[in-house]
């Protein structure tokens, strides 16, 4: 089970912060007044039903979507002002793999490494493939991979620029046991390298296991929050959210 490196929560400024974050789609209010602070070394689990706003929140934090009101700060910087800098600090895994099916796993990683300006993209790609246990399939087109393998490549893609923050949108849904284990292993290694993440998940137990803090979203608002390591009551509240 991954645990944050000791002494990591002493940074004063949060790594990633949402302040009064609101997003409307036409007349629909997807998110309203979200305040969230993620500190270095303290990953957060994001719980909520389908349609609660988890994906929208992650997209806003990643900078792929602009807020209707409120703001995001990535290491203190506003992505609307310094978008490229903010984007280089974040890696994203979503339920779609965000990969090019006709390219090989290695080619995908080299491409994204190049886009992020990673030095020696080819070497980095091969190292990442080893990390997610896919070294022997590096030359196969991603189209030929099962969902589990694709998500592993997707995680490698998110890690290609070694971002301090990962945004994970239900990455392990539909994965078999072997892929889920490989996932958790990769996440543990990321934690050891001081990577922090927000993990949106339906699986409350997984969320509690992988993240010291949790936040629950309902109807676009923060409904509840708590710690996964502290009082049992907190964890019970989280489990009560599960449908």
């Amino acid at each position: 089970m991954p645990s944050p490196p000791s002494g990591a929560s002493l940074d004063a400024a949060p790594l990633l912060e949402a302040r009064g974050l609101t997003r409307r789609f036409g007349a629909t209010i997807a998110l309203e007044g979200i305040d969230l602070a993620v500190r270095r070394g303290e990953p957060v689990a994001l719980f909520g039903e389908n349609g609660a706003g988890k994906t929208t929140l992650l997209r806003l934090l990643a900078g792929g979507l602009k807020p209707t009101a409120g703001g995001v700060a990535v290491e203190g910087t506003d992505p609307r002002r310094a978008g490229a800098a903010a984007r280089s600090r974040i890696g994203v895994v979503s339920h779609q793999t965000l990969l090019y099916g006709d390219l090989t796993a290695e080619e995908n990683l080299v491409f994204f490494a190049t886009l992020h300006g990673v030095p020696s993209p080819a070497a980095r790609a091969r190292a990442l493939l080893r990390e997610v246990d896919l070294a022997e399939r590096g030359d196969d087109p991603v189209r030929t991979f099962s969902r589990g393998l694709r998500q592993r490549v997707a995680l490698a893609r998110a890690l290609v620029h070694a971002p301090p923050i990962l945004l994970l949108d239900e990455p392990a849904t539909g994965l078999d046991a072997r892929s889920t284990a490989a996932w958790r292993r990769a996440l543990a290694e990321a934690a050891a390298r001081d990577t922090t993440w927000i993990l949106a998940t339906h699986d409350v137990e997984e969320g509690l296991a992988l993240c010291p803090r949790w936040v629950a979203i309902r109807h676009g608002r923060v409904a509840d929050a708590g710690s996964s390591r502290g009082p049992e009551a907190d964890r019970a509240r989280a489990r009560a959210l599960a449908p």
């Binding site: 789609f25 036409g26 007349a27 629909t28 209010i29 109807h219």
Partner: protein, 230 residues
Amino acid sequence: MRRSSDLAMSALTVATAGSMAAALWLIFLVAPEERVMGAVQKIFYVHVPLAAITFLSVFLLLTGAAGYLWTRRAGFDHLSIASAEVGWLFCTLVLVTGPIWAKPAWGVWWTWEAKLTTTLVLWLLLAGILLARAYASTPEQGARIASVLGVIAALDVPIVYKAVDWWRGQHPIVFGPGKTDPLAPGMLAALLVSMGAFLLLFALLVAVRARLAAEEDRLAALLEAAARSR
């Protein structure tokens, strides 16, 4: 606040009706018949204002579209929708009244000279914008895509005109150098009043359509709020 805008709308409606009546009176009862073409020429009093206002609507469309892309304020999008729709309507009328006049005047229903071709291309561009809005998955996406297309269309119109001009050229020139027949005074008055009447009509239609768009937004927001509070 609503009452003053209602008042303005009513005033505009009355002014439009009044000026239209005046225009019709001048066109049919005061302006002399044109020597060569007779009564058919009277379409000129309708066609010219319609054409001029169509191109005014392109300018408004550009303002609304660019304004929306820059500020994302709904008001700009309402202007954009209204000027695209009403502009397309006026454009259709130009393309209908033109050939009716052209056949007796030039002997052909249509010719590929610069003004006609540009108007036809504009009609297609506006139709495309309206179609794209219908295909959008959310109103916000529709607004954004339509704004992008609106900017492209508006920038394209002068270029299309110039390009077709180099390619052909044959429209009768009404004002300015090269005009063949000076307008009789009665005709000028009829044209100017007609222009004013159609301008007011255009303003009225755009205002109504923009307000409709605003009301639709308000309704959607109210429905949404009601659904959430349940």
